[in-house]
Symmetry: C2
Subunit: 222 residues, 2 copies
Amino acid sequence: MKVRVVEDALDANNTIARANREDFDRAGVTVVNLMSAPGAGKTALLERVLADTAGVRVGVLEGDVEGSLDAERLARLHVPVVQINTGAGFGGECHLDANMVRSAIGSLALDEIDLLVIENVGNLVCPAEFRVGEDVRAMVCSVAEGDDKPLKYPLMFRACELAIVNKIDLLEHVDADLQKLLANLQSAHPGIATMLCSARTGEGIDALRAWLLGLVRARASV
Amino acid sequence: MKVRVVEDALDANNTIARANREDFDRAGVTVVNLMSAPGAGKTALLERVLADTAGVRVGVLEGDVEGSLDAERLARLHVPVVQINTGAGFGGECHLDANMVRSAIGSLALDEIDLLVIENVGNLVCPAEFRVGEDVRAMVCSVAEGDDKPLKYPLMFRACELAIVNKIDLLEHVDADLQKLLANLQSAHPGIATMLCSARTGEGIDALRAWLLGLVRARASV
């Protein structure tokens, strides 16, 4: 008799991620898992992008070890925001996992949104290891972090469909070489889509918004 | 009869950290655990500081998920460097723990150094939770990360004796407010020592070097 390997089914995180995904699909919500190192500018980018979503209804799930500073910033845009603190309830974890997201779904009116952005805990390692039921994974890397991060944290760059190179207004003031950074991105993840942005100057914000809203339209047209 | 609680003795990491500490003490080596978010500039600061150590013999233990880019940079200074990769041998961990450091001690000639700098994996969460046998913990935060990080990752800032505020040459080009950052540092860890540095301009490098070498001299004078 053939032995059936059920390795993946034994992975609790993936099982719960699939349940999240089914809930998202049933409600017709497109989900983006947005990751980065601390201070790469995820929230500042979202503040710019979500200021005008052209009728697409967006919700945010905010992941932080402690506090709700970023959630408060985004709530000012009159976007529904739910905060997950990994410190208090989940043992100080350095990432979101599927169960944390599942515990927050009840606080989200999924039927009233088209797009859910999950802003993960700032960390270039573990968030990439945990699927949470998302459709797409994107990451933000700031040029202030240097051009070598794709080589040092390759799993994160491999896990994402899009790398948003942020704070490019700082390029002339830092030692990072943009061409080297882009080459290192392709070396870590051949073919990864990239986008150059600055939340400060507004460069690339329209492109990022179009990419995000395009994910929703692509689903609607299927 | 009184029940003796042996909670701490059951913590394998702390047990191994104490064994590391005994080895360091026996060899008369002062150990600094240096932590930060990815790209905050730990290696660039060490390149500047270790270029001249005034006769103090320094060794470096380099922690990364993958690769040895930073170790190679520091080895150019003719400083003994040992690389720990948390990806290959240790399951992709996002931090160094006492056992990883213990596994590297055999490759270090402890009798030939006075100061060991352990450059941890870039991460503001888990590295703060694992003692590795160090005497002192210091962290680097870059002003490019914003002024709110002490409020979002308080354990890291509480765990450290010194916060090195780095890349201050970027202050005029980023939105971070230095006074707010310093206030947030004190709010997370009242009384924490701070130092303003820039590996790019050299500002604060002499002070950081004096602080590091001072730790060795303080031990020698006991």
